[in-house]
C-alpha cells in the first residue's frame, strides 16, 4: 500500500502545483479512480450483505432497493429529504475529518451536536425581539460555540490530564444527552401542553428555505461551505499542515516547534464546533424546538462519513449525501415495502468494515506520511 503518487511526491506542496493537479489529465483520472475504488467496492459489498439479509428475511432485494432508491432520489421532495439528512452529516463529517487528520479520536460528535442544539434553542427562545438578519447568525453561532466548548473540554482533559479522548468523548456524549433530557423535562419544558419539549424558537430565528415547497433549508449550503473551509484549512494552509503533522507524528511535530497540545485542543474545538452547528441547523431549520433524542445518531454516522471519505472534507460531501440517501431511502422503504429501516445501520456498518478490510484507512496514513 506504500505506493507513491508521482505528482505530489516530486514537488513540494505549493498553491500553483495544486491548481495544476485539478486538470483532468489521464494521470489525474487514474489517481482519482484508484482513490475512489476502495470506498465504492466497500459500498458494493455492503449492499450485497444487505441484499442477502433481505433475501433471508423473505423480502425481494431488488424491490426493496428499488423502493429505497426511489425514496432517496425519486422526487424533488425525496431528494430534499436526502439533502436534509446529509446536512448534519456533512457538517459533522467535515469537522471530524479535521480531528482525525490531527490524530485525535473525537467519538463525541453526538454529544457536541446536543450541546449545540441546547444553546441554539436557548438563543432562539430568549432573543425574540431581534430581526432575522441578526438572530439567525446568533443562533448558529451559539450552537457552534457550545459544541466547540463541549469538544474542547475533551481536548483539555487530554492535553492537561492525559485522559483518552476516546473514553472522555463517549462519556460526554451520554452527559449531553442526559442533560438535554433533564432540560426538556424540567427547566426548559414548554409552558403549554407540557410535552417533554421546549417552546418553539422565534420565527425570526428560523433558517430560510431554499427549495420550495420542500423543507430544504439554507443549512445545506452552510454545510457545503463548512466542508470547503475545512478542506482549505487542512490542505491549503500552514496551520492545517501543522495539524496533519501532529496527526502523523506528534514527536516530529514537537521537534519542528509545533505546539502539539494546542493543535489537539484546536482540532477538538473545530470538530465540536461543526457538530454544534449541526445541532443548531437541526433546531433552527427543521424541528424549531428541542426535545429528547433530537438526533437519530448523526454524530455516530458522521464518524463513518468522515472515515469513508478518507478524512477529506470534499469527499465528505459525497459520503454525507450517500449516508443521507441511505437514511431517507430506508425510511421510505419501511413505509412502502414494510422492510425495517434499521437495515441501513447494517449497510453502514458493513461499509465501514469492508473499507477497513480493504485498507482505505491505511492509505490515509501512507499518503499523509509522504506529503
Amino acid at each position: 500500500m506504500e505506493t507513491v503518487e508521482p505528482e505530489i511526491a516530486q514537488k513540494p506542496p505549493s498553491r500553483r502545483s495544486d491548481l495544476k493537479k485539478i486538470s483532468f489529465s489521464p494521470r489525474y483520472l487514474f489517481t482519482l479512480g484508484r482513490k475512489m475504488a476502495p470506498p465504492v467496492a466497500a459500498l458494493a459489498a455492503a449492499l450485497l450483505v444487505g441484499a442477502i439479509l433481505l433475501y433471508a428475511a423473505g423480502y425481494s432485494p431488488w424491490y426493496a432497493y428499488g423502493v429505497m432508491w426511489e425514496g432517496a432520489f425519486g422526487s424533488r421532495n425525496n431528494l430534499a429529504e436526502t439533502l436534509l439528512k446529509a446536512t448534519p452529516l456533512i457538517l459533522i463529517g467535515s469537522g471530524l475529518a479535521v480531528a482525525f487528520r490531527s490524530g485525535i479520536w473525537n467519538i463525541g460528535a453526538e454529544g457536541q451536536l446536543y450541546a449545540g442544539a441546547v444553546a441554539a434553542t436557548l438563543a432562539g427562545i430568549f432573543f425574540t425581539g431581534l430581526p432575522a438578519m441578526i438572530l439567525v447568525p446568533l443562533v448558529l453561532l451559539a450552537g457552534m460555540l457550545s459544541g466547540a466548548i463541549w469538544g474542547g473540554l475533551a481536548g483539555f482533559l487530554k492535553v492537561r490530564f492525559g485522559a483518552s479522548e476516546i473514553v472522555t468523548t463517549i462519556m460526554l456524549n451520554f452527559i449531553a444527552i442526559i442533560a438535554t433530557s433533564y432540560l426538556v423535562t424540567g427547566p426548559m419544558i414548554e409552558e403549554v401542553g407540557k410535552f417533554p419539549q421546549t417552546a418553539q424558537i422565534a420565527d425570526a430565528a428560523r433558517l430560510p428555505r431554499i427549495l420550495f415547497p420542500t423543507r430544504l433549508h439554507i443549512g445545506f449550503l452552510l454545510a457545503m461551505g463548512v466542508a470547503l473551509a475545512s478542506y482549505l484549512l487542512l490542505f491549503k494552509s500552514s496551520r492545517g499542515y501543522a495539524l496533519r503533522t501532529v496527526g502523523i507524528s506528534p514527536d516530529a511535530a514537537r521537534y519542528a516547534g509545533i505546539n502539539v497540545g494546542a493543535g489537539l485542543m484546536i482540532s477538538m474545538a473545530i470538530s465540536g464546533g461543526a457538530a454544534g452547528l449541526a445541532g443548531a441547523t437541526e433546531v433552527a431549520g427543521l424541528t424549531f424546538r428541542l426535545y429528547q433524542e433530537i438526533s437519530p445518531g448523526y454524530g455516530f454516522d458522521g464518524i463513518a462519513v468522515a472515515l469513508l471519505a478518507n478524512n477529506n472534507p470534499i469527499g465528505v460531501i459525497f459520503t454525507g449525501i450517500l449516508f443521507g440517501a441511505l437514511r431517507s431511502g430506508s425510511e421510505v422503504m419501511q413505509m412502502n415495502a414494510q422492510v425495517p429501516s434499521v437495515l441501513v445501520s447494517v449497510i453502514q456498518g458493513v461499509v465501514l468494515l469492508s473499507a477497513a478490510a480493504l485498507g482505505v484507512f491505511r492509505i490515509t496514513v501512507a499518503e499523509s506520511r509522504k506529503e
Binding site: 439479509l53 428475511a57 423473505g58 479520536w105 467519538i107 482533559l157 490530564f161 492525559g162 485522559a163 483518552s164 476516546i166 473514553v167 472522555t168 463517549i170 462519556m171 460526554l172 456524549n173 451520554f174 452527559i175 442526559i178 442533560a179 433530557s181 433533564y182 424540567g186 455516530f300 464518524i303 463513518a304 472515515l307 425495517p340 434499521v342 437495515l343 441501513v344 445501520s345 447494517v346 449497510i347 453502514q348 456498518g349 458493513v350 461499509v351 465501514l352 468494515l353 473499507a355 477497513a356 478490510a357 485498507g359 484507512f361 491505511r362
Partner: protein, 312 residues
C-alpha cells in the same frame, strides 16, 4: 422516610446493585483482557447486543437458557474473530472496526428481531430464563439474605469468573504474555511468542465475555428482547475498565459502584418527594469517569501499546 423504610429501601437498592452490575462485570472483565493485550474494542455495545439477541432467540426456540447462553458465547466469539482478523491480521484501525461493529450489532439485531418476531403474538409468551436461586438458610438472613443470596446463577458466577480472570492474568504464563503484549509487543515478539496469536486470544475472550454480558440481559435479568436493550452498557463497560485501572478486581468493584448508581436511579424514580432529578444519577457513571481522569492525573495510564497495531 421512617428509619425502617430507609433500611428496606437500602436493601432493595443493594439487592438490585449486584444484579445490575453483572453485565458490566462480564463485559468489562473481557475488555480488561483485550486492552491488556493492546486492543481497544469500542464495539462492545454491538457485541453485547448480538449476544443478547442470540441468547434470546435460541432460548425462545429451544426453551433452554443454557443453550441460549452457549449460543451467545459462540456469537461473541464470531464477532471476536472478525474483529481480530481485521485489526490484528489486517492491521485495520481498531476505532473504525469498533464503531462499525456497533452499527452492525444494532442494525442486525433490530432487523432480525423485527423480521422474525414482529407480529408474532407468542413473543409475549414468557420463556424460561435463569430464575433466582434462593440459597437455603442464608437467604433468610435479614437484610443480607435479600442482597446476597436470592440472585440467579449468572449473578453468583461473577466473583468466580473475576477470580479466574485475575488468576489467569497475573499468575499464568499466558497472562504474563497478554500483559507484555499490551505494554511492549516487540519484547514479546523477540521472546519468540506470537503477538498476533496472543491478541487473537485476548480479543476472543473480550468479545465472548461481552456476549455473556449481553445475554444476561435477555436470559437472566429479564426474559425478553427489545431493540437496543443494552442501552449504552457497552460504553459504560469501557469506562469501568479505565476507572478500574485495567485490573479484573478493579473492574469488579467499579461495576458494583455503577450498578449501585443504576439501582438508585431506578428506585428513586419510583419514590415521590425526591427533589434530585433522576437524570443526575443516570449521568453519575459518566461524570465519575471524567472526575477520575482528573483526580488520577496521568497515573491512570493505559497499557503502553493500546490501540497500536503491531507489525513484525
Amino acid at each position: 422516610m421512617e428509619p425502617l423504610a430507609i433500611v428496606s429501601f437500602l436493601a432493595a437498592v443493594l439487592a438490585a446493585t449486584w444484579r445490575l452490575a453483572t453485565p458490566f462485570i462480564f463485559t468489562s472483565l473481557g475488555e480488561v483482557f483485550s486492552e491488556r493485550a493492546g486492543v481497544l474494542n469500542i464495539g462492545l455495545e454491538g457485541v453485547m447486543l448480538i449476544g443478547a439477541f442470540t441468547a434470546f432467540a435460541i432460548t425462545f426456540f429451544t426453551g433452554s437458557p443454557v443453550l441460549g447462553l452457549a449460543a451467545a458465547i459462540t456469537s461473541g466469539l464470531a464477532c471476536g474473530l472478525l474483529f481480530a482478523f481485521l485489526t490484528v491480521s489486517l492491521s485495520a484501525n481498531q476505532i473504525v472496526v469498533g464503531a462499525a461493529l456497533n452499527l452492525v450489532g444494532l442494525g442486525l439485531t433490530s432487523f432480525l428481531y423485527r423480521s422474525i418476531f414482529s407480529g408474532r403474538m407468542e413473543t409475549a409468551r414468557e420463556y424460561v430464563s435463569f430464575s433466582p436461586l434462593e440459597i437455603p438458610f442464608l437467604s433468610s438472613i435479614r437484610f443480607f439474605g435479600d442482597i446476597l443470596f436470592k440472585q440467579n446463577l449468572m449473578v453468583y458466577a461473577t466473583p468466580i469468573v473475576v477470580l479466574l480472570g485475575s488468576f489467569i492474568l497475573y499468575r499464568t504464563a499466558f497472562g504474563l504474555s497478554v500483559r507484555s503484549t499490551g505494554e511492549h509487543p516487540r519484547t514479546v515478539d523477540s521472546a519468540g511468542l506470537r503477538v498476533s496469536m496472543i491478541r487473537y486470544a485476548s480479543v476472543l475472550i473480550g468479545c465472548g465475555l461481552a456476549a455473556v454480558g449481553g445475554a444476561y440481559l435477555t436470559v437472566a435479568h429479564t426474559n425478553q428482547f427489545n431493540e437496543g436493550i443494552t442501552s449504552g452498557r457497552g460504553f459504560i463497560a469501557l469506562a469501568v475498565v479505565v476507572i478500574g485501572r485495567w485490573s479484573p478486581w478493579g473492574a469488579f468493584a467499579v461495576s458494583l459502584l455503577f450498578g449501585f448508581f443504576y439501582a438508585l436511579q431506578l428506585r428513586l424514580q419510583a419514590v415521590s418527594g425526591i427533589t434530585i432529578p433522576y437524570q443526575f444519577f443516570q449521568a453519575m457513571p459518566y461524570l465519575l469517569t471524567l472526575v477520575v481522569f482528573v483526580a488520577m492525573r496521568r497515573r491512570a495510564a493505559p497499557p503502553g501499546a493500546l490501540g497500536v497495531p503491531y507489525k513484525s
